[in-house]
Amino acid sequence: MKKTKLNPLHGLLGAVIVSGMLASTAAQAEITQRGAMLANTCVGCHGTNGVSTGPAIPTIAGISKAYFTDNMKSYRDGSRPSTVMGRLAKAYTDQDISDMADYFSAMKYVPQAQAAKADMVAKGQKLHTKYCEKCHSENGSNPADDAGYLKGQWKPYLEYNLYDFTHDVREAPEKMAKKLKELQTAEGADAIANLIEFYASK
């Protein structure tokens, strides 16, 4: 934008106009981008904009870019077990994954309210604070942690993954593996279920 003859007020107005133009054309420009084209193919399973209506496929809207990228690559090389994702991830280049990560990380995460037993939720909350909060801050809803969304995530998905982490199916990061062992040893057989109940509650 040429600034030569604009006084400061015009400059300010110009800024407003430019931001308005950007906002009004954002949706139009979107589909000309590869990220939106690729994301369109994911949402048939993961829900429009990556917000899943459940009951088991996880919401990926608002996901951390690094977490998305790491996981797509570990699906691709088989280090993260899956039903379908491994077969699909093998089709994508690093650039494709980066474009999809840009797209989904810019979407808004929507926590899901699921039926949960209050006494289990209360126990789970304490366990979360004691064992998990350090890396999964804000009850596991802070994408800056570069971890998956936990709070308000679909319950069967949480169950599958905690099962896999605690049964040598999916490899947990070193600290997480240690914390999970401590949790199970110190807090008894219901600890994992209580933790899941807490995350599944809104």
Binding site: I31, Q33, T48, S52, G54, V84, A91, A106
Partner: protein
């Protein structure tokens, strides 16, 4: 995105007002006021309508569909055996209207590619800049000697378009006495939902095993091979005694005499190359072709399907008209709901690009199809597709079917199948 949608709109409005105040034109889309008419409100047509409006709200989108309600074909096998309610596969068009789609309930009788207008049975004419046709499939009833459209609608049902036939086939199964025989005649390639007939045979077997254990299911097939065959046969062997004397479920392929030569729809007697059988319930899934309007509009080739440019889905026979979903020739993509949804988004992007003078992104497609072998045991096929030398190809080294039987993984696949159903129907209709 840090701006909430409401704030983004406010900002946009403020920006536009600012432009107007300065006597400048707001940045209008080159596609503003352009008209797109979509023929058919199934998965393909409804997705295309919604996503065109998402891509550009200034495009006028009209969707013409005769039915007020749509019933998904996918998951209708679960309805047939009582695992799912009919109401759960029923969808309306309120969601599309909320996106600003002009939904018209009428039957399209002609598409004029030169005059660029669609004509309806109700006597209306709708002008278009681009037309997207998603007509689904039609049946070649007489390709099964002795069969007829009338019999298909009364006694020997197809239940291959969900709706009244879904419920009618369910009732036939419920009315059948224990010890009865269900015969399913599978269609030749290509057809809608390649694993569908085999999922149906599986779920009917599960229903009978539980409710009428002396009954039998016989599948007669003109083909030697079918979708997810290894996984289906593995499951049939596990649950339905497949391959043993007295098996509940038997499949006879084309090379073993499974080709049907004649049916008597009155007595439900089927003559096939390997023998003759009289059924109590006879489910004939006829050979298929593109939906009727595609034929009327001159969009089909000599095989009865619609050839298209694989990047844009524009008909190679009629300029300005695009064909998506089951009717289009998009192989290696299958004729499935997921494929139709994926094709519709690429097609909508191509139409938006054409109307606005922009370039479209390099296209990408996905298909994921789940099949339930027995409640609690589901399998899938999943593929990613890319454009190579102008043709759709399955991306090398990716995709394929579920791994070998693992009860935990199969339970998850069923949960994912039901999640997929919720998400795709929401993506199409909400």
């Amino acid at each position: 995105m840090l701006l909430s949608r409401r704030n983004a709109i406010k900002t946009a409005v403020a920006g536009a007002a600012g432009l107007a105040a300065m006597g400048m034109m707001p940045l209008a889309s080159a596609a503003a006021g352009k008209k797109v008419v979509i023929v058919g409100g199934g998965i393909g047509g409804a997705t295309a309508a919604k996503y065109l409006r998402i891509y550009d709200k200034t495009i006028e989108v009209t969707l013409i569909e005769p039915n007020v309600d749509y019933y998904t074909c996918f998951m209708s096998n679960e309805v047939i055996v009582g695992e799912r309610k009919m109401s759960s596969i029923k969808f309306g068009y309120a969601g599309l209207k909320a996106h600003g789609v002009n939904v018209v309930h009428d039957l399209v009788t002609d598409i004029d590619a030169v005059g660029k207008a669609v004509k309806t049975k109700g006597g209306q004419s709708y002008a278009f800049d681009r037309c997207i046709v998603s007509p689904g499939v039609d049946f070649k009833y007489d390709a099964v000697p002795g069969h007829s459209e009338e019999a298909a609608n009364t006694t020997c049902l197809h239940a291959w378009k969900a709706g009244p036939q879904t419920e009618a086939l369910k009732k036939q199964l419920e009315d059948m006495s224990d010890g009865g025989t269900v015969v399913i005649i599978a269609p030749p390639d290509p057809f809608r939902c390649p694993p569908g007939p085999y999922e149906r045979a599986s779920l009917i077997s599960a229903y009978l095993k539980k409710n009428k254990p002396n009954s039998k299911v016989l599948m007669l097939d003109p083909k030697d091979k079918f979708s997810k065959q290894g996984l289906f046969i593995d499951g049939w062997t596990r649950y339905y005694g497949y391959g043993t004397e007295g098996a509940m479920l038997k499949w006879i392929g084309g090379d073993k005499g499974g080709k049907v030569t004649k049916v008597d729809t009155a007595t439900k007697t089927v003559t096939y190359e390997g023998g003759t059988i009289t059924a109590d319930v006879l489910n004939i899934i006829p050979p298929q072709k593109a939906g009727k309007i595609a034929v009327t509009a001159g969009l089909v080739d000599d095989k009865g399907w619609c050839p298209v440019n694989h990047k844009t889905f524009e008909s190679t026979l009629k300029a300005g008209i695009h064909v998506i979903g089951d009717a289009s020739v998009a192989a290696p993509m299958p004729k499935s709901g997921y494929a139709a949804n994926s094709e519709a988004k690429v097609c909508a992007a191509a139409v938006f690009a054409a109307l606005s003078g922009r370039d479209m992104a390099e296209p990408s497609w996905v298909n994921t199809c789940y099949s339930v072998i027995k409640p609690g045991d589901a399998i899938s096929v999943a593929n990613v597709y890319a454009l190579k030398d102008g043709k759709i190809v399955s991306v090398e080294g990716s995709g394929g079917v579920s791994g070998k039987f693992d009860p935990e993984m199969r339970k998850r696949e069923e949960m994912y199948a039901h999640s997929w159903f919720n998400n795709i129907t929401s993506d199409v209709f909400n």
